[in-house]
Homo-oligomer: 144 residues x 2
Amino acid sequence: MARKQKRRSRCPIAFSLDCFGDRWSLLVIRDMVFKGKCYFGEFLTAGEDIATNVLADRLERLEDAGIITRRRDPEKGTKIVYGLTDRGIDLVPLLLELIAWSGRHDPGTAAPRKFLRELESNRDELARRTIRNLRERQAAEPQR
Amino acid sequence: MARKQKRRSRCPIAFSLDCFGDRWSLLVIRDMVFKGKCYFGEFLTAGEDIATNVLADRLERLEDAGIITRRRDPEKGTKIVYGLTDRGIDLVPLLLELIAWSGRHDPGTAAPRKFLRELESNRDELARRTIRNLRERQAAEPQR
DNA sequence: CCGGATCCGTTTCGATACTG
DNA sequence: CAGTATCGAAACGGATCCGG
C-alpha cells in the first residue's frame, strides 16, 4: 500500500516529526535500542499494547524513513528480523534526553534509578556505550 | 471540558509521550523557545498551519501537563500570554537533540548552518545559553 | 481584532477477527 | 509468527461563529 506523504512547510529552526509525531514509533525504537527486541511478536508484548495493524504500519513507516531494516531471519526461515540503521542508531541521544526529562518530571514513568543517575552524571559516555553495543549486535550486514 | 486521560502501562526504560506523541505539541514549544512566540495568533501563523481548535486543545493539554502557563497580558487586557514553566524550559536539550538529528538526517528540514554547527560542536553551552535567555524573558512571575 | 468554541466532512487509529 | 481485513471510535482540519 502506498504511503501517504504529508508535506510540511519549512521553518527557521526546524525538525522532522514525520517519524516521531505519533504515539508508537519512538516506543518501538526504544524496544530495539534498550531491550534488544527485533521480532514483530516481541514488540507486541514488550512495550505497552499496540495493535497488530498499527505496529505493522509503524514498522513500514520507519523502514520507509530509513530508520529500521526488515529482512528474513537466515536461520529460522519464517521469522522476520527488524534492525536499526545508522540513522536509527543515531537516535540514541534523543532517546536518552527523553528518558532523562521523563525521569526528572514525570513521576509515573520510572526508568531504573541507576540508569537515571548515570544518565544525569555521564550522559555522553552512556550514549557512546549504548551505541557501541548496538553496533556490535548489528555488525552482520551492511547498512545502506 | 474534561480531558481524556489515557493510562499507559509501565516499562523498564520508560518515557512519557503524553505530551510529545502528537504532531503539534513540540512545534508549539519550539516556537516559544526559539522564536519567542507567546500569543495564540502567533502560533497560528508562525509554525506550519495548525487549526484553531487543535491549537486550543494542545495549549490546554500542555498547560495541564505543567509545561506552559497561561495568563492575561497585564498591559493589553484582552490578550492571553503563554509562557514556559521550568518543566517546559527543561525540554530545551531534547529539542536540541531533535534539531540535531533532523539536521544530520533529514535533508528537507534546514535549520541554519551556523546553528547546526554550534549545536554539533558545543551542544551543552548552546543549551545553557538558550535556557538563560528564556529565563530572563520569563523572569517576571513565579512559576509553580 | 483576539482567543477560542462549535459544527461537520474526512482521515487516522485501534480492537478484534481472520489468514498464509 | 507476521501480518491483513474490517469497522466503529477518535482525531484532524476547515470554516464559521461568538464573546470581550
